[in-house]
């Protein structure tokens, strides 16, 4: 097999050419200068950190966002789609990150949804199945069109979504947004093979992924965006994971040097913890006065790890020791009693009861301390809430304000304030800074460091290497359900973290 860029690139004009495309939202420039070209029959990887402008650019190509400047040409013709339907007419289709299938319909019905072959008003099931098979053929997969969508494996769901995009219109450019992010390694392989087969059949595939090992394996060419600009674009030939990491960060990252905290006794020990699917045998130890960082990509099992520890998800195998006593299987109520608290990554769905007041949300996990004989004292609750509002600088109309009326950062302070109210010794923080402003973020860093100094123990889960390097004492990387060996923060760098997570 020859390199397609060199073999075909010389003879064919580029199929897709993006030239100095820009897009601003108000004063914020989401995309400043995106420039690259892609040809028929290639897998073109599009990479960038969160906020690099990736989604904006893909949105422009898919007709969901209109650009302010720059030009896009498709097959030599000016291309500026006004809507997703318009983009499909030009032959550009996007498959979103999360597969969206109607679980109660079968594969053929899902693939032909909205374009059902009919005769005198009745759906021709056999024709639908034939078209479904035809759409899946270029992927090199054979999925029975009569199977129900709910019976499919995650990889098959992703493949059916791609097949549906192919069946709905004549596709020339297919955009895949992190198609393997929620798949296991073996399942990801299947999707990658299909992506390769698709490109070999002559399509241009724009492939978005954070898993750099995957990109190196499947892509022919790449474009790296940083701060809204194309920093590098070219052939994948000879490019290694480490090269991509450095391009993404823009610099070989350096670790911050920080004063070590005094480490106390061991408060939590997890051995070979295994859940129903994830984690898959994770182990670590946590000491008083320590902030332990867990870095991992989406689907690596970091959230499942703390959920299993906290008793929210079922533990299949392994051990959890709190202090010196074994207590593997548990409930949240029991964990609370043992001095463990958790902040959920899903702030609106799980972390907070949005229709309840700030005071209720702050005190809900330990109403005992503000009530007597089963009656909650409004005064005690108000006092407890006001103390925390002052201490955490929560901006709200008062303890009685519904927590849903607060900004994201202040909501998160309420979620963390609850752990302070229950006086937790071990704080499991799952992506505590997700989607909050920089000011609140800095306050949470300071608060955590302050808590650790007061001999609390913290598990801090994050997808942001810089944040972990700033607050943690030790960091371990989670990959496919297993936690790697923890290392001192001084032994890590952004590059090392990304490399180990994506390896």
């Amino acid at each position: 097999m020859t390199d397609p860029v060199e073999a075909d690139g010389a003879t064919h004009a580029p199929l897709l050419s993006v030239d100095r495309v820009a897009k601003s939202y108000g004063a914020t420039a989401a995309l400043k200068n995106a420039t690259f070209t892609a040809i028929e029959g290639e897998v073109h990887a599009v990479m960038g950190e969160n906020g690099a402008g990736k989604s904006t650019m893909l949105g422009i190509l898919a007709g969901l966002v209109r650009s302010d400047h720059g030009t896009v040409t498709l097959g030599g013709v000016h291309y500026a789609p006004r809507s997703a339907a318009d983009a499909r007419k030009f032959g550009v289709a996007i498959v979103p990150q999360e597969p969206t299938l109607c679980d109660h319909l079968n594969v053929a019905e899902n693939v032909t949804l909205g374009i059902e072959p009919v005769s005198s008003g009745f759906v021709r099931a056999e024709e639908a199945q034939r078209r479904c098979k035809a759409a899946l053929a270029p992927l090199g997969v054979d999925i029975d069109p009569t199977r129900r969508a709910s019976d499919l494996t995650p990889a098959e769901r992703q493949l059916v979504c791609i097949g549906r995009a192919l069946a709905q219109s004549k596709v020339r450019v297919l955009i895949l947004d992190e198609p393997t992010s929620s798949l296991t390694m073996a399942e990801a392989e299947r999707v990658l093979d299909a992506v390769r087969a698709l490109a070999d059949s002559g399509l241009c595939v724009l492939y978005v992924s954070h898993t750099l090992g995957e990109v190196v394996r499947v892509a022919d060419a790449y474009t790296v965006l940083r701060n809204g600009e194309t920093v590098r674009s070219g052939s994948m030939k000879g490019v290694e994971v480490a090269d991509l990491t450095e391009m993404l960060l823009g610099h070989p990252a350096e670790a911050r040097v920080r004063a070590p905290r005094e480490k106390g006794e061991r408060v939590l020990s997890v051995r070979e913890l295994t859940g129903v699917k994830l984690p898959a045998g994770a182990s670590f130890e946590l000491h008083r006065g320590e902030i332990f960082g867990v870095f991992g990509l989406v689907g690596s099992g970091r959230t499942e790890l703390v959920r299993a520890i906290y008793g929210l998800d079922r533990v299949v195998r392994g051990e959890v020791h709190i202090g010196s006593s074994a207590s593997t299987r548990s409930t949240p109520a029991h964990r609370l009693h043992e001095g463990i608290g958790m902040v959920s990554e899903d702030r609106k769905g799980e972390g907070l009861a949005l229709t309840m007041s700030v005071a209720d949300n702050l005190t809900l996990s330990k109403l005992e301390s503000i009530s007597s004989g089963g009656i909650v004292s409004p005064n005690a609750q108000g006092t407890a809430a006001r103390d925390l509002i002052t201490r955490l600088q929560i901006r709200c109309a008062g303890p009685d304000a519904p927590v849903g009326s607060l900004s994201g950062g202040n909501q998160q302070k309420v979620a963390i304030g609850r752990l302070l109210h229950q006086n937790a010794n071990v704080l499991l923080l799952d992506e505590p800074t997700r989607g909050i402003d920089i000011g609140s973020r800095e306050q949470l860093y300071d608060l955590s460091i302050d808590l650790a100094a007061k001999q609390k123990a913290i598990v801090w889960i994050s997808t942001q290497p810089a944040e972990l390097l700033a607050v943690c004492d030790r960091i371990a990387v989670m990959r496919r359900g297993v936690l790697g060996a923890p290392r001192d923060v001084t032994d890590w760098s952004e590059q090392l973290l990304l490399q180990e997570a994506a390896a």
Binding site: T331, A333, D346, T355, M356, D360, L364, V376, P378
Partner: protein, 332 residues
């Protein structure tokens, strides 16, 4: 504050007043209260000679008692995120149980205890099924609605059971010589409603009910046992339906297995008019009881004015939809 100039003091006083006023106006029961007063005033103007007399008031209070007891329980269930379609069947079953106990020679006190217990057992069954089978409450209580109705008919041998109500009859009958304007059942309903409102507002368990309905995931995260909250809430609702059944028996003085068909919809309507959300987490006992009263006033008033039954039904339906629409708009 002592240094403050009179005008400033007045201004802060006024702003404190307005914020308090805004808070009161934000209460969920304000809407149904206003609606009730407006509708009552309307009928009072049209038919002053009947509507302004104490007799009419007493009759309307009596008519509301059964729905009011049930709606206190339903409020708890709906705030918890559930629903109970079986209340009508429970009330019918309880009238049968009460009549049977009395006919077997038990004292009215024992019969009353049996009534409440039977209701609580039905509620516990609902709660255990919802919590244990993890099936939506709508389906579970749709099932028990039919099953308990069947049980009542089987227990009664598919006929009404006559019994000497004895002291139980006095629950819903005003002593003409008494200085009190209402029969004891009405006062009991008021006490129970106050108790229910206090439970929701001030007890730890009340917070757990609201939290479970507002966000089950958050409740779980905070160590609240959702099965326990579910079972206790449905049991309480059943117990209140038991008391309602006892009141119904006091009015009918027979045990009737075919009684109270469709009561559950009236009760749900009362809760919804009172600001309860079928998505859980929202509602108030005061609002629900006012909703129940509103429906009684409309039915009574319409009858007095001579509006046909079918128009009354259309009116009630319209009020349910309008009440919820207005409530949504207020919260926007």
């Amino acid at each position: 504050m002592t240094e403050a100039k009179p005008t400033e003091a007045k201004a802060t006083e006024a702003s404190a007043m307005s914020s308090r006023l805004r808070r009161v106006l934000g209460e969920p029961w304000i809407g149904p209260l206003v609606a009730l007063l407006v509708v009552y005033a309307m009928f009072a103007v049209v038919t002053p000679d009947t509507f302004l007399r104490g007799v009419a008031l007493e009759m309307m209070a009596r008519h509301t008692v059964v729905v009011a007891f049930c709606s206190v329980g339903m409020t708890l269930v709906i705030i918890q995120g559930g629903i109970d379609l079986s209340v009508g069947s429970v009330v019918a079953l309880v009238t049968v149980v009460t009549a049977s106990l009395l006919r077997s020679g038990y004292s009215p006190a024992v019969a009353a205890l049996g009534a409440v217990l039977a209701g609580a057992l039905c509620g516990a069954l609902n709660g255990a099924l919802v919590a244990g089978l993890k099936i939506t409450p709508f389906i579970v209580t749709l099932g028990t609605m039919s099953a308990l109705r069947g049980l009542a008919k089987g227990f009664a041998g598919e006929q009404k059971i006559d019994a000497d109500a004895g002291a139980l009859e006095k629950l819903m009958l005003r002593d003409p010589d008494s200085a009190l304007p209402f029969p004891p059942g009405v006062f009991l309903a008021i006490v129970v409603a106050l108790f229910g409102a206090a439970l929701l507002a001030y007890s730890r368990f009340g917070r757990h009910i609201v939290a479970t309905g507002s966000s089950p995931a958050t409740a779980r995260l905070c160590g609240i046992s959702i099965p326990r909250v579910t079972i206790v809430t449905y049991t309480l609702a059943g117990l209140l339906a038991g008391i309602a059944g006892m009141m119904e028996f006091s009015t009918l003085t027979v045990g009737d297995p075919t009684d109270s068909i469709g009561l559950e919809l009236e009760v749900i309507a009362a809760v919804v008019i009172g600001g309860g959300s079928l998505f859980g987490g929202q509602g108030s006992v005061a609002g629900s009881v006012l909703g129940a009263m509103l429906m009684t006033v409309i039915a009574t008033g319409a009858t007095h004015v001579g509006i046909a039954n079918w128009i009354q039904e259309i009116l009630t339906g319209a009020i349910i939809v309008v009440a919820v629409t207005v409530d949504r708009m207020r919260h926007r």
